[in-house]
């Protein structure tokens, strides 16, 4: 049709362009719900954030809970574990991070050094590491031998990054909210 009609836009062409544009806007608006329905729904989002009571975890032990379908380690660190984590030369680490940046401030405003919260998924290929195993008494992943320290940082083995710290905060001294 382009060959037959004149090249300059006529009033007729403007009407067609306007029609097409108007219809396209409607089509785009109609497509959005089809895409958005695949986003997490309200019932999934309700589980996106959980509260965990940490008051029953003794020093030197940890629990594993499920958050957003993933394991989360909550470790009540002893003084030795905290000291061991702080006395590492950051420059030697594959994924350099101080212990402090991997911790969160409590209700008092001070860093809660005794509480370590980590996503329990090895950053190599996704296995769940074992706690209190390995040379540093941190974590050991049995799949390919990655070794993490008492701050969850990678020290030996093939994993490229430290164990991920999920977003969490202290709701009170005995409760944390993850997510």
């Amino acid at each position: 049709m382009a060959e037959i009609h004149a090249a300059e836009p006529t009033r007729r062409d403007f009407l067609y362009v306007a029609t097409g544009a108007f219809a396209a806007v409607g089509a785009a608006a109609a497509v959005w719900p089809l895409i958005d329905q695949m986003n997490p729904d309200a019932s999934v989002l309700a589980l996106a954030s959980i509260e965990v009571d940490i008051s029953k975890i003794p020093v030197g032990q940890e629990i594993t809970i499920k958050w957003r379908g993933k394991p989360v380690f909550i470790r009540h660190r002893s003084e030795e574990e905290i000291k061991a984590a702080e006395s590492v030369d950051i420059a030697e680490l594959r994924d350099p991070q101080t212990d402090d940046v991997r911790l969160v401030k409590g209700a008092s405003g001070q860093l809660e050094k005794q509480w370590l919260v980590l996503i329990g998924i090895c950053t190599h290929l996704g296995c769940v590491p074992l706690a209190y195993k390995g040379e540093f008494n941190g974590y050991f992943c049995p799949c390919h031998g990655s070794v993490y320290d008492t701050s969850g940082r990678i020290r030996k083995g093939p994993a490229p990054l430290n164990l991920e710290v999920p977003p969490y905060k202290f709701v009170s001294d005995s409760k944390i909210q993850i997510g």
Partner: protein, 275 residues
């Protein structure tokens, strides 16, 4: 030439309009015609029609009524009736009673919900959270029927599961009467002519009496007012997306009318050389 073109075109357009209107009328007719049988049964009283704020294409819920209605549900109805499809978090969502997240947390924590098994394999009770549904007063229908004589229906969808919706609930709650002399009311039954499916005999005793629930917003707490509020609350429970639906609907219909208008002129232009 233009005059004749337009006239011929208009005839076609008119017949299309007639067609659409006819089928609209047919559809509406079937809407009401097809629903007739449910009202034909028994000799039930006519439904009272309330001017609900959510009626009509621009209807919205009355937030205060929803909050009062929730209180009535909690203090009266939830003793026997479950509402298992509604979650505590729904109470904070837009288009509903819109309690604050903190209020919802407190409301949920006031309920006991079953969870588990724990590490020793036992089920346990814990305070409710936003993600939990309203707990059922009985573990299942059989237990409810054993305890009460008949299983009280779950109220999550009751406003959409009965002809007349909120009007029916309102009329039913206000419909309790003395049985006429020629009607025998069996033990455990109550007379309510609105309850057509049971021929006027309903297992639920009159649930609402004046002053039964305290209203904190100053609204008079008559049984009639409480029935109105709980009916509106149950309508929301059944149709929580009503306000979004009306809002989006208005935008869509306005858009489509505009689109139809543009397409009308485009069609005329295209066909101009044919007439």
């Amino acid at each position: 030439m233009t005059q004749k073109m337009t006239k011929t075109f208009r005839i076609g357009f008119a017949s299309k309009l007639v067609g659409v209107a006819a089928f609209g009328a047919l559809a509406l007719g079937l809407t009401f015609g097809a629903s007739a049988p449910a009202q034909a049964a028994g000799g039930e009283a006519a439904l009272k029609h309330v001017e609900w704020s959510f009626n009509g294409p621009f209807g919205t819920y009355d937030r205060n009524a929803l909050r009062r209605g929730y209180k009535v549900y909690k203090e009266v109805c939830s003793t026997c009736h479950a509402m298992s499809m509604v979650h505590f978090r729904n109470l904070a969502e837009k288009g509903g009673p819109e309690f604050t997240p903190a209020e919802v947390k407190a409301i949920a924590a006031g309920y006991k919900v079953q969870d588990g098994p724990d590490s020793s394999g036992e089920m346990f009770e814990r305070p409710g959270e936003g993600k939990d549904p309203f707990p059922s007063p009985y573990p299942n229908d059989e237990a409810a029927a054993a305890s009460l004589g008949a299983a009280p229906p779950d109220l999550s969808l009751i406003a959409k599961a009965r002809e007349g919706g909120a009007d029916y609930i309102y009329t039913l709650l206000n419909g309790y009467e003395e049985a006429p002399a020629d009607v025998k009311v069996p033990a455990g039954g109550n007379y309510n002519p609105v309850f057509a499916v049971g021929n006027g005999i309903i297992a639920m005793p009159k649930p609402l009496n004046d002053g039964q629930v305290d209203y904190t917003d100053g609204t008079p707490n008559t049984a009639e007012q409480m029935s109105k509020d709980v009916a509106q609350f149950l309508m929301w429970a059944a149709e929580p997306k009503l306000e979004q639906r009306h809002r989006l609907g208005l935008q869509v219909v306005i858009y489509l009318i505009a689109l139809a208008g543009i397409l009308y002129f485009a069609t005329r232009k295209v066909w101009a050389d044919q007439h």
